[in-house]
């Protein structure tokens, strides 16, 4: 009896690691693409992928923090667009570059703060508050720009900051920014009381309240982190595109949520990590890159992102069912 269950237990223990499935998927994807297309596994392509994944990675980091506390942030795509627009505008109206960049990030964090206040003070469900923010921020950007892209903010330094010019080879400034963001979020989640409170709040909101966790503050800060990350992503994308179109960041919330969930964050809260967000963003970016290299029309991009998100939640569901079953089996064996 025990001999039969051992492999299945080992299997489920493997599955219990939230990132295991994603890493497996990643390895299969890389191996298959390398075999099929010789120009996939090259240094140049690796540079391309890393420079493209920065946006989703930053958004996924913020989303992971929000998901850990048990919330969700649908507004990141719109927040990214609006903060990039306002930041670019301050530069065109004569402010120094640093002020423009700081404005971009500050607007992101501020919109996150409003999300947090709507959720904690007005008691709105998180997806409604952030869905409203999605509509309002996008509408504000369209209204304010009149549908015309913002241009003329590209100071010479902005080319370096956005990674358009690459003085240090393929390790661009955005990649360095992303690495810093990953390390900071990882440290905050693992080694600070904020991080422990966030996991506690997500695992059991009721227990968190009873043990004196400042629930409202933890939530508001989580949405601010998500907004800030969206601001940083917007700042880089404004430079990368050299214009801020009113549609900038449209639909990025799907990619961000997909990346976070692929990386092991759960909708119920209490699970997720910065490392997982990296893996999730890698899976999405490499898939996008694979589509590109395989010569499939980029119109398919959105279909594939949605498909990957669906696959990720199905996988998560199936693995949690297997975990629950093997746990039941183990209890039954222990009782026998």
């Amino acid at each position: 009896m025990i001999a039969i269950t051992a492999p299945s237990q080992r299997f489920s223990r493997l599955l219990a690691n939230p990132s295991a499935g994603a890493i497996l998927l990643l390895v299969i994807l890389i191996v298959a693409m390398s075999v099929a297309f010789p120009n996939f596994f090259t240094g140049i392509n690796a540079g391309n992928v890393s420079n493209q994944m920065v946006f989703v990675l930053l958004l996924a980091l913020g989303m992971t923090v929000v998901l850990i506390t048990g919330g969700i942030d649908l507004s990141v795509g719109s927040v990214m667009g609006l903060s990039a627009g306002i930041g670019a505008y301050t530069i065109t109206s004569g402010a120094p570059l640093v002020v423009g960049l700081l404005t971009t990030m500050a607007v992101g964090a501020f919109l996150g703060l409003i999300n947090g206040i709507m959720i904690t003070k007005l008691g709105l469900p998180d997806f409604i508050a952030t869905l409203a923010m999605l509509g309002v921020a996008r509408g504000a950007l369209f209204l304010w720009t009149g549908g015309v892209p913002i241009i003329g903010y590209m100071l010479p330094e902005y080319y370096v900051i956005s990674g358009l010019s690459q003085p240090f080879g393929f390790i661009t400034v955005p990649i360095l920014i992303a690495i810093v963001a990953v390390v900071v979020v990882a440290v905050v989640l693992k080694f600070t009381s904020y991080g422990r409170h966030a996991y506690g709040l997500g695992s059991s909101p009721h227990a968190a309240v009873l043990s004196g966790v400042p629930v409202a503050r933890i939530k508001v800060i989580a949405y601010m982190i998500s907004g800030l990350m969206a601001g940083v992503a917007g700042m880089i994308m404004a430079g990368r595109n050299t214009t801020v179109a009113p549609t900038m960041g449209l639909g990025y919330e799907v990619a961000a949520i997909a990346a976070a969930i692929i990386g092991g964050a759960a909708l119920g809260g209490g699970r997720g990590s910065a490392f997982g967000a990296v893996i999730g963003a890698l899976v999405l970016s490499i898939t996008a890159n694979a589509i590109n290299i395989a010569g499939v029309s980029s119109s398919w991009q959105q279909v594939v992102t949605g498909g990957v998100l669906l696959l990720a939640v199905v996988f998560d569901r199936v693995s949690s069912l297997i975990r629950a079953r093997s746990a039941r089996l183990a209890t039954r064996l222990a009782h026998a």
């Binding site: 409203a132 996008r138 209204l143 799907v254 029309s297 959105q302 279909v303 669906l310 939640v313």
Partner: protein
């Protein structure tokens, strides 16, 4: 105290606040612009709001069962595209309509399967199908112009008129009336209230929760397919991004009409009033010279205000109720009050208890 109580009770009547808001908006805009109450404008307003009205009616079912459907906008857009595709390739009108409705149903079946059978979070599943649908529309419209169907019967679906009323309005009225009838007078309609109010209790009482949940998403998808057919007839052309944001308007309309996001509460006509309110705002703001781009801000803000308002009223009612309950408990130890003091009673329960205590 008694005036306050009466005010609270009035505000707690579902649908009254939004109906009042609609009336106020109509009065305001007809005073602000002489063109608002013209027949042409009203007919325009109705024709443009048909799609959101239909989607909001479908969304009501999903919200009542305690679910969520973000994919309706994408489903509408893709259904419009498949209808156009069939008609452009010489398919007969019934075939085109069928293609559109079948596309919507496909969304419903996929959503229903993952949500009801696999028990995955509704929100993520429909977000994924939104992305897939919007992407598929992009794929379909790249390289091909979906436009220029010259079937008179197809155009008649939204542009014709029956007894002086635009056909689209008549079709919408029929759909809305049918859905309200299903919700109020069929076993299906009554049991989805039970599932939304308390899924566990409904399951223990022998309700086929899974099958009902599946049916509700199938219904919402089918309705989105119908809306897509009408939208294709209205525009006679389909671009990428069509239907984008309709889910936001449909949810806003339902929520404005007092359909609870927590499930178990709502009705089709109230969602329709919510949709009419949004349409009036859109049309009215445009008439008095406000940029139509304000509309998505108005929609977003009205969701926030409606939900916050609803919550405030509910809490007020519960507080009043708790006070009344304690008073009554002094006189008799009625067991009915015990269930009321649970932390999240539904409104209908709350309201009937308010009446009982009176």
């Amino acid at each position: 105290m008694s005036v306050r109580t009466r005010l609270t009770q009035t505000l707690a009547i579902d649908g009254l606040p939004v109906a009042a808001a609609l009336a106020l908006a109509v009065v305001f805009f007809s005073l602000a612009s002489p063109f608002f109450l013209t027949q042409e404008n009203i007919s325009n307003l109705l024709t443009q709001s048909l799609f959101v009205i239909i989607l909001a009616a479908g969304m009501t079912f999903v919200l009542i069962v305690g679910g969520f459907d973000l994919s309706v906008g994408a489903a509408t857009g893709l259904s419009a595209a498949t209808t156009m595709l069939v008609l452009m390739n010489g398919g007969a009108l019934p075939l085109g309509i069928l293609a559109g409705i079948a596309t919507g149903m496909a969304f419903g079946i996929i959503n229903g399967f993952f949500i009801a059978v696999m028990e995955i979070n509704a929100f993520i599943v429909t977000l994924a199908t939104l992305s897939i649908g919007a992407g598929a529309l992009q794929v379909l419209t790249t390289g091909t112009q979906l436009t220029g169907v010259s079937l008179p019967a197809f155009a008649w679906l939204t542009k014709g008129s029956i007894l002086g009323i635009p056909t689209g309005v008549v079709i919408t009225l029929v759909i809305v009336a049918a859905l309200e009838w299903v919700l109020l007078f069929t076993t299906f309609g009554r049991t989805i209230f039970a599932v939304g109010t308390n899924p566990r209790a409904a399951f223990l009482a022998g309700t086929p929760v899974r099958r009902l949940t599946f049916s509700v998403y199938l219904l919402s998808g089918t309705i989105a397919g119908l809306a897509g057919v009408l939208l294709a007839s209205h525009l006679n052309s389909v671009q990428p991004g069509l239907g984008q944001g309709y889910e936001l308007s449909a949810i806003a309309a339902a929520v404005l009409g007092g359909v609870s996001l927590a499930g178990g509460r709502g009705s089709v006509w109230r969602a329709v009033i919510g949709a009419l309110f949004l349409a009036t705002m859109a049309q009215g703001l445009q008439l008095i010279g406000v940029d139509p781009l304000w509309f998505s801000i108005v929609t977003g803000a009205s969701i926030v205000i409606a939900v916050a308002f609803d919550r405030a009223v509910q809490q007020w009612v519960i507080k009043q109720l708790a006070a009344a309950t304690t008073k009554r408990q002094i006189f008799d130890d009625s067991d009915a009050s015990a269930s009321v003091s649970a932390d999240a009673p539904t409104t209908s329960a709350t309201r009937s208890s308010v009446r009982n205590t009176k």
